[in-house]
Symmetry: C2
Subunit: 337 residues, 2 copies
């Protein structure tokens, strides 16, 4: 049974093992610094399908299948899959798993979905409701661009604060039994609205939510940033990364070099013309599965705080003048025996 630590954090009594993971990416992701961490990269933005939406579905389906294969499990050995994406009505993730026969918990956490799905999955495992679950999410530059912004053919100019939606997916299998990497703590996020209304500055909109969740995590656990070998936010990008550093600095806390953002890590900002960095459900999902988990397995980091961030807005809400609230869910990953 999960143990309550402070107001929001839960320590898992039986921390589930991270049994297997898989990361898929597109062409641009394959030209970035994490290229060697991906299991597969597609040169074709259509992934062999007839539309970008079907491509996103295909990428998620393949990522799910690959994670199951790497775990040595058939999908039917899972108690459930927790999944969501950025498309209207979350169709890519639903269609990706629809023929698997696995019970489905559909989520919408925007770009925080990788942490949300892992957090809820871990709590279900810890509570005995499941023995094995899969957390799955991803995004596609071309579907996001035309749904949220402009037709790609329009070739709209991008502001320097804008971010580049990652074409990528990540899937993680959590197992109540097993050894190695474990998910040990969960700090769920609450929605934080700092009043930012600029849809081309998502990092600024989401940083206050990351600050809220990480502050709660440190207060709940009595830990400081120095208790982690690495701290990753989801997709704040270069500007959001610096805003979060500033927010902590103002209260006398230095996050230091251990603090990194998945949106900064996934592309080479100098060479790849991605504005302030990567974003999208696939950003933190792919970096988790292509860099963080492999790095922990190799012993680079023993204890990691992974805090994926999401912007809870839609084109309609932006057009109606609403601000952009953010949310950030955090999980602790630890290298065990």
């Amino acid at each position: 049974m999960a143990k309550r630590i402070g107001g929001r954090t839960r320590a898992l009594e039986r921390p589930p093992a991270v049994r297997a993971w898989a990361a898929l990416g597109g062409k641009k992701e394959g030209e970035g610094p994490l290229r060697r961490g991906f299991d597969r990269l597609s040169e074709d933005s259509y992934f062999g399908e007839g539309s970008w939406e079907k491509a996103e579905t295909r990428m998620l389906r393949d990522c799910f299948a690959l994670a199951c294969a790497k775990a040595g499990l058939s999908p039917q050995a899972l108690d459930c899959v927790l999944t969501g994406d950025l498309l209207n009505q979350c169709v890519s993730s639903a269609f990706a798993v629809k023929d698997s026969g696995v019970p489905h918990w559909g989520l919408y956490g925007a770009c925080s979905t990788m942490a949300e799905s892992l957090a809820l999955g871990a709590l279900l495992l810890d509570g005995g409701a499941a023995a094995r679950v899969c957390a799955l999410t991803g995004s596609h530059f071309c579907t996001a661009e035309r749904q949220y912004r402009f037709p790609l053919e329009y070739g709209g100019q991008r502001t320097p604060t804008s971010q580049w939606t990652v074409t990528g997916a990540g899937a993680v299998i959590l197992d109540a039994a097993g050894s190695g990497l474990r998910l040990t703590q969960v700090t769920p996020g609450r929605i934080v609205d700092a009043g930012v209304a600029d849809a081309t500055h998502m990092g600024g909109a989401m940083a206050p939510a990351a600050f809220d969740t990480l502050s709660a995590h440190f207060a709940d656990t009595g830990r400081s940033p120095a208790d982690y070998d690495a701290i990753f936010t989801g997709d704040l990008g270069a500007l959001g990364h610096d805003i979060l550093e500033d927010l902590f600095r103002r209260q006398g806390t230095e996050l230091g070099v251990r603090y990194m953002d998945c949106g900064v890590l996934i592309y080479d900002a100098a060479a790849q013309d991605v504005g302030a960095g990567g974003s999208g459900c696939g950003c933190s999902a792919a970096v988790l599965c292509a860099q963080i988990l492999p790095g922990m397995e190799k012993g680079i980091w023993d204890r990691v705080l992974f805090a994926a961030t999401g912007a809870l807005m839609s084109p309609t809400s932006a057009q109606q003048g609403e601000s952009i609230p953010g949310v950030c869910h955090a999980i602790v990953l630890e290298r065990g025996d």
Copy 2:
């Protein structure tokens, strides 16, 4: 800790109490047979706001606040709120709770959201991850119509199989402690795609998912329909209701008069011109909170199987020729001491 029964069902070891609930509805819902069960009905489709999307948000926010008030709790006494809706990026439910300061698990289960949120919330309570949670969802005819179908001003003709999106919301507070009504079992749904591609025949698209989940529930528990005082599906409507009856009849099971559908119950089909009945997240949410829970409290039913249904499609997926997969999550509600 949840006990595994059969392949999919979980029996809660410490079944949470249904501490309070609230139901809000619109004008048409107030003209229907359940009018007396609603806590509040709005004659104004804008709920005093400047757009239908803001109206949906307002309705959900008010419903959440009312459920908390009826429970005698401040929102901050909740460990989390589990919520989702039909709008792109689930903005109405996110905006409804964004200023509450309550940790947020965002869900997308389409019209199954009321059962999905209650099921996940109950599993979190049973597993010790939370002591009190709120499950919240709803829908609005005008936002759904213009997002999924046609501008309202267009006045498009409706097919007899089409359903009417309910303007309504439901919120339920589950508490690990307490007496009275309890949520005792959960049977999560898997996605079922029967190949139906007619977006004006959602009942037909979703009925196979309801059949799959209810069949699993009966097989897992060794129970038959007769073990329930009432069985409710979410929003199959009149046609989907009959299809589900037929599917069970073919395997020799009679659901009988105890089987009802929320989409049939919420409107007077003869007088209200709603096609095959109600639909939307607000359909099962409002019927649960305006009829089922009040009815159980009055002693009309002691043991109820509540199986909300969702269609996992988007306008884009329909335009790209995809079929409409369905999902159905089921929970058991029992009247205790």
